[in-house]
Symmetry: none
Subunit: 196 residues, 4 copies
């Protein structure tokens, strides 16, 4: 049975982990450009060839790290207190604060830069934040369908999430801080104006 196949040593999991780890650390420290394959290799204690054997580019490494949850793991979950409006506000506040910090801003732009030359990174970035996992905006909005006049059953929650996240992205790119007015406005865009 088992078609079997080849002999020889098997891919080293230790090397793989060390590479992802080193990449994530250096991404945070120095930003996406200035992130060098040689640097990752040397920090991970690994030969360059081992990186090139398994990944096509540095953006592919970032994509995999993202997939493994080594970046943006959990900080960005949307809370669920039953009150969508308040939850969205709190989440936007949290995200806005992260974007205000130098590291947060830098990380955000690094991820965007990575997405720029790797479709997977863009895809995953969108999935992780706007997507459908627990804690994602889309999920939270789905739960709130029907509870607000502007959010009737059938409302396009995915697209609303996308618009919300897109707005944050644009803020990050233009270095415009997210103040309370902007947050209120975005909540309005998502779920309609506050009742009275």
């Amino acid at each position: 049975m088992a078609a079997s196949s080849r002999s020889g040593p098997v891919r080293s999991e230790a090397a793989r982990q060390a590479i992802l780890q080193a990449a994530v650390e250096m991404l945070a420290e120095r930003g996406y450009d200035h992130l060098a394959i040689e640097g990752i290799a040397s920090r991970a204690g690994v030969g360059k060839q081992t990186i090139y054997r398994w990944w096509k580019s540095k953006s592919a490494i970032i994509a995999e790290a993202l997939l493994e949850g080594m970046i943006l793991a959990e900080r960005l979950e949307v809370p669920d207190t039953g009150d969508v409006r308040r939850d969205l506000t709190a989440w936007l506040r949290a995200v806005g604060d992260v974007l205000l910090s130098p590291q947060g801003e830098s990380l955000a732009r690094s991820l965007i830069a990575a997405a720029t030359d790797n479709a997977d990174v863009g895809q995953r970035l969108r999935d992780v934040i706007a997507g459908s996992g627990s804690g994602a905006v889309s999920t939270r909005l789905t739960a709130a369908l029907g509870s607000e006049p502007h959010l009737p059953p059938g409302a396009p929650v995915d697209d609303i999430s996308e618009a919300l996240v897109g707005a944050l992205l644009l803020r990050a790119l233009s270095r415009t801080p997210l103040d309370d007015d902007a947050i209120a406005a975005l909540v309005t865009v998502a779920v309609g104006p506050p009742s009275l």
Copy 2:
């Protein structure tokens, strides 16, 4: 008066134009990374020092070209037929089509990458598209205030525009094409559900 002083020749406008021109062309041809100062200099028939004398980085060149209207000049104007819903739909369709073409997609990502390491580019990108000039989304929405139930006077048109443009950016990054359903959904996000 003329506090000035200084002798010597004045900045060569011809060189400046040649540099911007070369940068714009090569940006379109080869993408933001792979855009090299040396390449721009040689294509423009200019010494490297002439570039470094006047710009701090290649992203600054792109920023200036953007400001001069040498990129994204006019294609992206929002029409005004009196019917916001129809106008937005048409505009999103047009933008979506641009993003579908290889050059359009590449240019979009190149600009995002440029924005990634230059605040001005991000700022101008936001202004040009979402901003307040004639043909910008925000302007069109302002004109429509009051004409739709979801767009009462005082609605946060700037933030709505931002969300719309952000959604497009996110699509560009994740290489998700903009189909008719998505367009309809985005219009709903912006100006509310179609009346019956």
Copy 3:
């Protein structure tokens, strides 16, 4: 008795032959540098370790191939018509022609390069050509002792051969072709000026 012992398969003669064969072919095709152990292994259908187990370096492989007569096998035999002068002339002519051809020249330099980092190759090169086998210069000169005034019994035939071969070597290194004058001169060096 049969001290022996040891289980497991024994050195594979097939592998050994395949390796030597592959090495000789690739030496001729691509030259000594550009001759890679990995290339030999893959052409021979053999694991790298099998090569490293039995040889210390690629020059050792060449040395062994040389010993096996897989290189320079026979082309370079000195004829024996009874007339040393004529025989030497013919042989030098033949060698000179080989050195003129691209493959011949390349092979010669490859062997010199191999000799450069392996004493055995140097030794064998000297033995094979200048040495004492049948067809070697030294042997031919020994047979001619006494037949020429400059070649009395007791003449240092080994050293004369060495000088002759060395001259060829120097020609190969300096890419100086061996013309008829040079051949005549070398014959004079070896066996004295033509009578008359």
Copy 4:
């Protein structure tokens, strides 16, 4: 007049010297293979590109150093006491001693290796030693024409020199030391047997 030509900075003589110097030192220390362009660059305090800009290969650097007299400068001059036989013997003795020392042997083989992949090195090696400058074998033999029965006017001194030097090369390649018998034999090859 003077057609002139281009502007711009001029080749740095300091860099050129540093590179040749570093190359010569490392050649002596580590041998021709193991001589790395990167090593030369770093020892010379120079960018790699500066080397590649002016030389095609490491053997070309060695060729130039040889031409500049930075290698084999003077040690190998043939003395001239009036007695060819004695002079050649002394010179062969000196060369033989150099070849016996580890550095000398290694240097000799390094030069041969360099000649192996660069025609100029081979050419210059031949010229410097066998050639026609003062102190060269050929020159010495020319001076001795007529003074020995085996060295009549018109004897092919260039070819004799070549044979002598070639014999030394062959000794170097095969790691055969040059003993007194061999020296005597070579002198015999060159100028005939000792008179009684």
